[in-house]
Point group: D2
Chain length 284, copies 4
């Protein structure tokens, strides 16, 4: 795979902005592999993502940072430059349901997800078997034995020790404490098994069954202190009917969850997501 | 089109039920064009729809009714026998947005919807042009001039005078009074421009925009006194992204509304929907 | 609706290209409403579309053309600048099936499609009723009476006299002669009632039925001399099963056709489509 | 999971048929969990599937067979009675791509697919790792070393020795010889990575890219001697655009393949598929 740099910019919209950035890139020989722009007309905010062929660029990574900084300041940019060779460190948090965990591990194993997975953490020991096979260190956190507070402190410590960039809640059924949510802001992704905002909270399939909806879904979103209220990255739905039993709904729902979570994680890892207030710009 | 009878049954499940009904049909020579069964395992309720070739049947309509009655009583059936030649009388209620109204009229005009449309009722005069072209009597109800109560009385009177079987709220933006909802129970269909239960109430596209969902939708449901809470017949969704403006969302939403409403109305007209508590069985 | 200019560029990819164009736009005060880029990595071809707020631009239309020309030459651009106020002149060609024709007319009538429709042409007189209602001149071309060659000459003459920019074959069931295809290259859109390249040619629904596929579809494409082989703009599919009769397939297929054609025509009218060899870049 | 019997019938349509079968079931106390009927109007063929609660039935499996036989003969039925406790023996044939294989193994492991998987066979040794983890015997067949004919003889022998009921070609990239196809008729399922009949044969994604289609797909079908021409069980599609690279298409295509194959295999294992000429009735 071709090495690229991803320049991601979020700033107030202004005439001349694109020209200045494009000129900077051209001046340093950049070949543009992919370019995406978006202006939020309501807030006047501008978003831009460039994927640049690394070979073409006459600047190395640190020089790019220092040379681009004045331009970034001039336009009051929030920005980052990501090197595609740099692999983010992703922790997977699981529970009893294995479908999301196994799917992410397989996509990582086959190279579809470019990241490192230095650890898997679970409140149940059963996921150990998958971790072992993929040769990923596994940590069983005993929520019942030590209580929630201690358990989450243990998790926070692990995320810190492993130097984790992204925490993925792959059907991890515990509610994170506010302090941890804040600490992981923009760096933790959850999959909720409903088409949010419908059926937030517990037992969404039962809620969907009781309401008699004709489509069920799953929502991949960033974790915030307000449960199931974080910025949505991706959603997926499937058609159901009166003839679908609870088992059928769970089976179809799982396929939605797997799909939405895999998309959401990949978009994040490829620096395609920008959080803007409580929403996302996704340059898919 | 082949003439058929539709025998629709809703009763407690019981061994021998299907055999008895099938034997009755066979004894009278019935050729089955389409047969659908469903048992609700939670409530033990059984639902069945047969579409029978009228030519094959050695009973006329009234004889069928009288001969089937003892069997229906034995199994405590709620049931009906509909003749496909009988066209239900459908009233369309519109407002300012024409897309659902025009779509239903065209499907009716081309024979996709088998019904009569004896009148169009609207709280705005603009729909007159469509009514005239399709040669359907048009009634403008002046809500502002006479007030809501009088306006709805006028509507109730019209539905009564026209002997209406089904009332379709084709983006009719007025909330029906409870008494009318009760009177029309199971005989009035609404289209709500969101994927219910998400974004019930007013301005659903704005709500969807504000929440940052990645799919928008529409819901076709029976009207009940609880606004946007009636039994759902059909739902439809479309993918959106950050780049969709308010105009884009409305345009995509309209396509969802048209599709979901057209399906819902057709299912109802073809006796494919059975209401069970607050849900539907749809033999699509 | 906001007035915009659409600058659409198709040229060999080159470092500095985007910077030059962006600088040109910034120098003349352009606010970018929407910007889309694409590089075809296989052919090294670059495609770009800018939608520019007309108010912001310090150049009028003719000055933009003349001032941009040197830059366009330098980069060997095929390009155009379209004014959103300019309404393309669209001819609709119909036959017996009304669904696509009526759908396009309604979308035009409600302002979703920004164009003029100066004429409707059909090889059957039945479409006259729709044309009359929308107050669009209608031309019945008698294919049987005068033969195909004369009929198509008559059509070519009409397209010429009406000064047509875009010809839409809205289920027009006659095969255009090669000379007319060439004359209308890139300016005529057809809807084929299958998911091409499956089931090209006649009776696609019958072909789909015979093959037992589980999804049917429709394809909106530019007309070329090779029947059903032109560049594809949009495709749409729907799920079917063994229980779908021929009537069901036609009904579902119609919904696909309407959707795909409406999208394709809108993309074309908004200058979102660039033909590249036998494929399209669609900045949807 | 509740134990059920599945009675699957395929015979000429005849008045009284459903009544006779229903009466037989009622006479033996059968509770119907699920019932599906279909009449092919063109061929006059009738298809029926009943799922019967085993607890309710006053007949054991062999008695059912013998008591039902006279009725079956009377109506010239092709029929079978399957016990849900009986697990079919499924052989997975893989090659280098692991996504379908791993997905099926995981669904089997979590109980979604009710079957035994006594062996995995591959023309490449790499799949051994997955087989080992799931503790399934693995057979690497050396196609290069011994030639195709010998290799396929080895496979035929294995299928025979393992007493295989269903052979699943999970992206097995070798073309089966005619004799093996005939031997496995109705008992071998393949996944083709295109939306058939489009892009049959080799390199379907390249074909799709070259044609510029806007949707790609996958097709799950029974294996026949005519390559990619067998009865279709399930198809799945995803939207693509000009911006999708070859890598993107493969990634999206894989998700289609996994979905379509998992559905097709489950339908087969649950006796939901009846082959009729070159098509399928799928009671999904």
């Amino acid at each position: 795979m071709q090495q690229t740099y991803r320049l991601v910019i979020d700033c107030p919209d202004k005439v001349g902005l694109v020209a200045s950035v494009s000129q900077f890139l051209a001046d340093h020989g950049a070949t543009i592999v992919e370019a995406s722009h978006h202006t939020d007309q309501q807030t006047g905010r501008f978003f831009m993502r460039h994927e640049i062929g690394a070979d073409s660029l006459k600047l190395d990574y640190p020089s790019f940072l220092s040379e681009f900084a004045p331009l970034a300041n001039e336009y009051q940019m929030q920005w980052k430059l990501a090197d595609s060779r740099h692999r983010q460190r992703v922790a997977l948090l699981g529970s009893l349901e294995s479908h999301c965990l196994v799917d992410l591990l397989h996509r990582w194993h086959t190279g579809e997800l470019h990241c490192d997975i230095p650890c898997i953490i679970s409140n149940h020991p059963q996921m150990q078997q998958f971790a072992d096979w993929y040769k990923v260190p596994f940590h069983w956190i005993d929520f019942k034995g030590q209580g929630k507070d201690a358990a989450f402190e243990q998790i926070a410590t692990l995320l810190n020790e492993y130097n984790i960039d992204l925490t993925v809640l792959a059907r991890f059924m515990q509610i994170l404490p506010d302090s941890l949510c804040q600490q992981l802001a923009g760096k933790a992704i959850n999959i909720h098994h409903s088409f949010l905002p419908s059926f937030a909270g517990a037992r969404p399939y039962q809620q969907a069954y009781d309401r008699g909806v004709k489509l069920i879904g799953a929502t991949c979103h960033y974790v915030t202190a307000d449960l199931d209220e974080g910025p949505i990255i991706e959603q997926s739905v499937k058609r159901i009917s009166h003839s679908d039993t609870a088992t059928d709904m769970v089976r179809k729902g799982k396929d939605c969850e797997v799909t939405a979570l895999a998309h959401g994680v990949r978009y994040h890892l490829e620096d395609r997501v920008i959080i803007h207030r409580n929403k996302t710009v996704v340059f898919a």
